[in-house]
């Protein structure tokens, strides 16, 4: 996994079937990258459903959430509609897993992204990361604490 303190590599991926999103589009905001193995699998469903509820807490810290997996844009669309998500799911589909690999969050054996979290600050630097065991939903507390720490540093 990329280390804390490194510049988060830029990327451009489909966020809907006809729209692309770059990390650099979000400069000036904090970004939470949530790599996860697969749409519709039980744990990921829970994890993304949970983050959908915690968005309002993230937004208080000027943070945007991006979910990333190797699923196709059409699969993401169906997943997103079925759970009523209010954040983009990015499709790391072609070449498969390219961005996940760049961040060191790819499981070569399964051919899926790992369950990895990154918090990136307003300047595009990785400030926190966490690799979760694949079967365990890491919750949202680690992300929230990381965001709070970043804001605390700024005000002091």
């Amino acid at each position: 996994m990329l280390n804390v303190g490194t510049v988060a590599p830029d990327f451009e991926l489909n966020s809907t079937p006809d729209q692309k999103l770059s990390l650099s589009d979000l400069k000036g905001k904090k970004v939470i990258l949530a790599f996860y193995p697969a749409d519709f699998s039980p744990v990921c469903g829970d994890q993304m459903t949970l983050y959908n509820e915690t968005l309002r807490f993230f937004k208080k810290h000027n943070a945007e959430l991006l979910g990333i997996s190797v699923d196709s844009k059409w699969c993401h669309l169906a997943f997103s509609q079925s759970r009523n998500f209010h954040f983009p799911l990015l499709s790391d589909f072609e070449p498969k897993g390219k961005i996940s690999k760049m961040y060191g969050a790819y499981d070569e054996r399964e051919g899926e992204s790992q369950r990895a979290l990154f918090v990136i600050d307003e300047e595009g630097i990785i400030r926190w990361s966490y690799l979760s065991p694949v079967g365990i939903n890491p919750g949202a507390d680690g992300i929230l604490e990381a965001l709070e720490k970043l804001d605390a540093i700024k005000t002091h």
Binding site: D46, Q47, T49, E53, T54, F85, S132, P138, D141, G142
Partner: protein, 177 residues
């Protein structure tokens, strides 16, 4: 990833059973969540089997985007708490978790013997909305990662909540305490 309950159980919480019980079982639950519905009778049986050794605490964690009636149901239970009928309402809601529209909630409130004028007013009261919001925030900070999430003596419990497994775990804990 966090495993510690934050904040710990206090007078603000709804607590069922002996306050001095050695085991404190806390659930973060969503009234519209089918898994929580499945856990509901299991918890009842666990309470019966553990008797005075266990107290049970319930905090709200409604997943509003996938369960559109869950938040209002949570507020309704909190509002019933104002008339000391939290647990009556909690039970009746879980027993009818497929029917949680406002009309249904009012019928349950009547069945629970609530003063309906007071209850209808309290449903609009920010105090109870804020209580549910506070529960959600405490859940996030405590590392809730789905519903139901259980905490035993303020530590997240990730084991099986099959009745026998859970009772075995709790009984082993009693022996150690």
């Amino acid at each position: 990833m966090n495993t510690q309950l934050k904040p710990p159980v206090s007078a603000k919480d709804h607590i069922q059973g002996d306050p001095d019980a050695p085991i404190e079982l806390l659930e973060y639950g969503d009234y519209q969540c089918p898994h929580c519905g499945r856990a509901y009778p299991i918890i009842k049986n666990i309470q019966k089997r553990m008797g005075k050794k266990l107290k049970f605490v319930f905090r709200n964690f409604p997943l509003t985007e996938i369960h559109p009636d869950a938040f209002n149901a949570a507020v309704a239970a909190e509002a019933a708490g104002e008339q000391d009928k939290f647990w009556e309402m909690h039970d009746i809601i879980f027993e009818h978790q497929r029917h949680l529209t406002t009309e249904s909630i009012l019928i349950y409130a009547q069945k629970a013997g609530l003063n309906m004028a007071e209850f209808s007013k309290d449903l609009q009261n920010d105090v109870f909305v804020n209580k549910v919001e506070d529960d959600i925030e405490s859940g996030i900070r405590s590392g809730v990662n789905g519903t139901p999430s259980f905490y035993v003596n303020a530590k997240k419990y990730n084991g099986s909540w099959d009745e026998d497994d859970f009772v075995d775990f709790l009984n082993r804990l009693v022996v150690r305490i």
